[in-house]
């Protein structure tokens, strides 16, 4: 899965305002609804499911990255949004580090490849330099370009 081709500039939130994982989830899913990618009911359900999942296990995978994800019958393809927080968000991440990058997924319910997708994204973010480039990016376009270069 290629982030640069999947994400449009609309799906980039370069300055997130949230400080906790629950707020971050709400902020990003609300944005997905705001730009018309998901319906109101999909928004409500997804926020609920994502926070419920976060209560069981953190999706903060370490190194400042979190990948919250859930399923919905209302999306036809993998729907995602990327958020950045310069101050860092408290996701109770596995390494206790604050999270600078949130990649949020809403996936179709019959998606069989979701583990492959998630693990590829996780791997992508551990690779050299990408996190630094994303922190240095000034605009939404810069962020997309950083993804492109890396891919």
């Amino acid at each position: 899965m290629e982030l640069a081709n999947t994400l449009t500039t609309k799906q980039i939130v370069p300055e997130m305002i949230s400080t906790t994982s629950a707020e971050a989830i709400e902020e990003l899913v609300t944005e997905l609804h705001g730009i018309g990618i998901i319906t109101e009911s999909c928004k409500t359900n997804s926020i609920h499911l994502l926070i419920e999942r976060e209560d069981k296990t953190t999706t903060g995978i370490g190194s400042g990255v979190a990948i919250p994800h859930t399923f919905s019958s209302e999306v036809k393809e993998i729907t995602m949004i990327f958020g950045r927080s310069m101050e860092g968000i408290d996701f109770e991440a596995i390494d206790n580090n604050p999270v600078n990058f949130v990649v949020l997924f809403i996936m179709p319910e019959n998606n069989k490849n979701h583990l492959q997708t998630l693990s590829a994204i996780a791997k992508f973010f551990t690779k050299g330099g990408i996190r630094k480039k994303l922190l240095e990016a000034n605009t939404k376009e810069d962020i997309i370009n950083a993804f492109k270069e890396q891919e």
């Binding site: 209560d55 069981k56 296990t57 596995i94 390494d95 580090n97």
Partner: protein
């Protein structure tokens, strides 16, 4: 309680041994015949030889009537299957030991639901938490972490030249989620009000979010001391070393890791890019230690699988001038021996993963209404799970008038731990940690632990 333990390795055996003599029925299942035989003589309970993933064997062990199943082998698959089967066969609670690798992938795949696990832990991560406590609190005054390191209790002594002297707690303007639990002044210990002024040599017990707590503790300690992380050298880049490096990197520590396997060192360097320097060298050699200037380090932590190497390199590092040396010692008998001689050896602390795990697991083995986590000068740290009968259930923290000398330190809802605010609700099923003085204990328990 009826307790079944799968695996009589170092971890399982140590737990079984420590439960011997207590009023529990212990059954251990071990597949290695020799190990099963030798452990049978050491513990007060039955040892069954065979596989912990056999339905027949689990039934024979009385799984249907058991209260707890501990899957403690070093094999993730065995542990996961044993837990799943045990739950199907009727055990009340399953506790599963896993590798840190599995914990790292838990965000992708819901192991807990899929394998019916009530609790999951890794001995490497628990040990890393234990070591990181010593590193983050260089003054060596008591520190206690709760909720797997999400909240910490620290004690600090206020030096005479501290900026804080003469200021009230209100004026100190402590960060959100950091509180003062008690002040010990001369012989007296008390829970302060916001107006209380700090005096030199006060011994203060603070609790809260670990990163904020460290900053607060540093700023209270001295006016000259800037926040500077410790210089840490870790020997061995295995799971123990890696877990530790990840855990302490947020505290601005300068970290170097010695790893003798080249491929492994390279993979580690990539994984820890920007957080730690990985040195590919065999640090068992004195020359290597000298060359890398291990003597200037504040901490030398030896985490290899060899107890002998860990102790010996700690002694070398100490001789080169490292301030504090911490060896990991796997064998329980060795750990006891080194621990007894640690002042002669110049070792700061001995970490025994077996013992760390045992302490973590003991909290599942109690039917008591409360559990004393630790005694500290300010009182006891008490853990209680709120039941329906509790007088505080369904109330907001601000509405509850706790007896003087007691204070809520943490509320845990699911996996979330937080420092309680006045508006937070206490609900049935929550776990609450409190610091309770001796005088307050009786009335506190009456109120909370019903």
């Amino acid at each position: 309680m009826n307790i079944i333990i799968i695996g009589a390795g170092q971890i399982g055996l140590h737990l079984a041994r420590s439960l011997s003599g207590a009023a529990h029925d212990i059954i251990v299942i071990e597949s290695n015949e020799k190990l099963a035989e030798s452990s049978a003589s050491e513990i007060d309970g039955r040892v069954i030889t065979g596989s912990g993933t056999s339905v027949e064997l689990l039934l024979e062990a009385g799984i249907a009537e058991s209260d707890l199943l501990f899957a403690l082998t070093s094999n993730d698959s065995t542990n996961l299957i044993a837990c799943k089967l045990a739950k199907e066969l009727g055990t009340k609670k399953t506790i599963c030991r896993v590798s840190p690798l599995l914990l790292k992938e838990e965000w992708m795949f819901d192991y807990r639901s899929n394998f019916a696990l009530d609790h999951i832990f890794s001995s490497e991560r628990l040990s890393a938490i234990e070591i990181s406590k010593h590193i983050r609190n260089p003054e060596g005054i008591a520190i206690q972490e709760i909720a797997r390191g999400r909240i910490e209790i620290q004690q600090i002594r206020i030096p005479e030249d501290s900026n804080a002297c003469g200021k009230s707690l209100l004026e100190l303007n402590l960060p959100e989620r950091v509180r003062v639990a008690s002040i010990q002044r001369t012989e007296r210990s008390f829970v302060p009000t916001a107006k209380e002024k700090i005096e030199p040599n006060d011994q203060i017990t603070l609790f809260g979010d670990p990163s904020r707590l460290s900053k607060t503790a540093t700023s209270l300690r001295s006016k000259t001391e800037k926040e500077k992380g410790a210089n840490v050298v870790i020997l061995g880049g295995g799971e123990y070393g890696l877990s530790l490096a990840q855990m302490i990197s947020p505290w601005n520590c300068q970290i170097r890791i010695f790893e003798k396997n080249q491929d492994h060192a390279e993979a580690l360097a990539e994984e820890l890019a920007g957080k730690a320097t990985v040195i590919h060298a065999d640090a068992a050699s004195l020359n290597e230690l000298r060359e890398e200037q291990v003597g200037i380090a504040d901490f030398f932590v030896a985490t290899t699988h060899s107890d002998e190497d860990n102790v010996m390199t700690c002694l070398q590092a100490k001789n080169l001038g490292t301030k504090s040396c911490i060896p990991l010692i796997h064998r329980t008998d060795y750990a006891n021996a080194v621990n007894q001689a640690k002042s002669q050896l110049g070792i700061k602390e001995v970490i025994s993963p077996r013992e760390v795990v045992r302490r973590e697991l003991m909290r599942f083995i109690t039917s008591d209404k409360y559990h004393i986590v630790k005694k500290i000068p300010a009182g006891e740290i008490i853990e209680t799970t709120i039941r329906e009968k509790s007088k505080v259930a369904g109330k907001a923290v601000g509405e509850i008038s706790l007896p003087p000398g007691s204070i809520f330190v943490a509320i845990i809802k699911g996996i979330h731990a937080k420092v309680p605010r006045a508006t937070d609700m206490i609900e049935v099923g929550d776990t609450v940690f409190s610091i309770v003085s001796e005088e307050a204990k009786k009335s506190f328990l009456k109120l909370v632990a019903k």
